[in-house]
């Protein structure tokens, strides 16, 4: 009986030593989890999740303060990817944080703009070009469609335009030859 205890104890200690050694010697210095989450987020920087940007939201998810279903621009696809990465259950998008909208860009009505620079200060990716008392304009390529420039504008001259589907950005659709009736 005493031999059994000694043998089991020595095996346990040996395995413990091996695991301890491995955890120190083979420690990976890859991406911290915050960067991995940030890579999945769409970088719209819109703040609809309740955090001032995508990196703070990623940090909050990593700390467990935020849930994974708060990002409308990421959509269902993004939630699935986050659920896979973190090993948690998939949840549908939390409607409190907004609905997914088609990709759009902002456009300034130049006849109304007064050159107050309030929108320039609001844009999270510096996509608006302009100066005080000079015309402001949005760089279409850099605009993420976050809509943060709409509220500050005192003359309400900014509009969101949905990016139209042209032969340049058209893509093939999922084949829909469904054989099973939807429940």
């Amino acid at each position: 009986m005493i031999e059994a205890i000694l043998i089991t104890l020595s095996i346990t200690i040996f395995i413990g030593l091996v695991l301890g050694y491995a955890s120190i010697k083979l420690k990976t210095t890859g991406d911290p989890i915050v960067d991995k989450i940030d890579k999945i987020l769409p970088q719209t920087q819109c703040g609809q999740c309740g955090y001032p940007g995508c990196k703070p939201y990623a940090t909050a998810i990593a700390n467990g303060e935020a849930d994974i279903n708060q990002c409308p621009p990421g959509g269902d696809d993004g939630i699935h990817k986050l659920a896979d990465l973190l090993g948690v259950e998939y949840k549908p998008l939390n409607a409190e944080h907004g609905e997914p909208k088609p990709k759009s860009v902002a456009i300034i009505d130049e006849s109304t703009c007064i050159g107050c620079t309030l929108c320039i200060q609001a844009c999270p990716v510096d996509a608006i070009v302009g100066a005080a008392k000079q015309m402001h304009t949005i760089i279409e390529k850099e605009c993420t469609g976050c809509e943060l420039c709409l509220p500050p504008c005192p003359v309400d001259c900014i509009d969101m335009q949905v990016i139209p589907e042209t032969t340049e950005n058209w893509k093939w659709k999922y084949p829909i030859y469904k054989i099973k009736q939807q429940n």
Binding site: K173, P175, I176, Y177, I179, K180, N183
Partner: protein, 332 residues
């Protein structure tokens, strides 16, 4: 969106064409079986296949799938046929229906329907019956000679309803059964009974299965990889065992001609859903099934191990596929 998207032309091939060609290839062996054992097997087939189709329709309805296209494709038809010819024709009807239930409902629909079943449906049904009703499964009706009168003896068609207990009719053991008994008793084989003195029923049926299988290969329904690898593997391993101890282990030709070797080689392991998709993978699959079969036949507890060997190797199919992916055009 109509399916007029490219390509607009199609080869005249469908799942039902494949399945019914296989059934057509099984007909010569069926005729031989009726000639030796009577019309009972035909009665079994009629009842069994109808029951299988009903089961399939019920499952499809429960899963909210349209019934007509799936019943038409003949996969339940073929599964039922293969199961019914694998079990003795004197099996009581309720035993057969239990087997069909496991084949169609549990092994196929519970895993997602056709195309998603990881195990060979006919073999699952057969394995369940073999383990649950060992006495019934090993009592094959006896047959000495081919009798043309058997084709007209219509009363035999419905004898399954009368034979509630198996002891009805003359039953005897199959050749594989006899050698299994001899192995257990430790007796050398040659004394048990004579091998090639007469071409018994099972060997003639094996030849018809071979003919049917060659027809399938000519029609390009199956490729040569699975049948050839299984046959050669059984041949090789039983040959090795026979060399080690000729008194105890049967020669390889015996193993090829008896039991379900040719039936399995051409019709059972070639089930496309549960066998590997890569050509090298098929060869590995066939070799391993052969090895396990030979081991079970000579060292295991059951007379014919094909069913268990197939089911066991079905588990490894995704792994085999992963390691035998062929090279794409242009990559070295």
């Amino acid at each position: 969106m109509t399916s007029l998207d490219s390509p607009a032309i199609k080869k005249n091939m469908s799942v039902s064409v494949i399945m019914f060609t296989v059934v057509f290839a099984l007909i010569p062996a069926l005729i031989a079986q009726i000639g030796f054992f009577g019309l009972q097997i035909l009665g079994n087939l009629i009842i069994g296949i109808s029951f299988a189709l009903i089961l399939e329709a019920v499952c499809l309805k429960l899963r909210h799938y349209p019934i007509k296209p799936f019943l038409k494709d003949g996969s339940a038809f073929l599964t039922a046929w293969l199961l019914i010819i694998s079990i003795p024709s004197s099996t009581p009807i309720w035993v057969m229906l239990v087997g069909l239930f496991f084949s169609i409902v549990i092994s196929k629909h519970a895993y997602g329907g056709i195309g998603s079943n990881p195990f060979n449906p006919a073999m699952i049904g057969y394995a369940v019956l073999l383990i649950s009703f060992p006495k019934i499964m090993t009592n094959w009706p006896s047959a000495e000679y081919f009798d043309f009168n058997n084709f007209l003896n219509f009363s035999q068609l419905f004898s399954m309803f009368t034979s509630l207990d198996v002891v009805d009719g003359i039953v005897s053991a199959t050749p594989l059964d006899e050698i299994k008994t001899a192995l257990f008793l430790g007796e050398p084989i040659k004394n048990s009974f004579s091998l090639f003195d007469q071409f018994n029923a099972y060997q003639i049926m094996s030849i018809f299965y071979l003919i049917g299988g060659l027809y399938l290969m000519i029609k390009k329904i199956i490729t040569w990889h699975l049948p050839v690898s299984l046959i050669l593997s059984i041949f090789l391993f039983s040959f090795i065992l026979h060399q080690i101890n000729p008194d105890v282990f049967m020669p390889s030709l015996f193993h090829l001609m008896n039991g379900a070797t040719f039936l399995a080689a051409f019709f059972i392991i070639t089930d496309p859903v549960s066998s590997p998709t890569t050509l090298n993978g098929k060869i590995i699959f066939g070799v391993m099934v052969g090895l396990i079969t030979v081991i079970i036949r000579n060292f295991g507890g059951y007379p014919d191990g094909i069913a268990f060997a197939v089911i066991f190797m079905n588990i490894f199919v995704p792994l085999i596929e992963k390691f035998t992916q062929p090279k794409v055009f242009g990559y070295e």
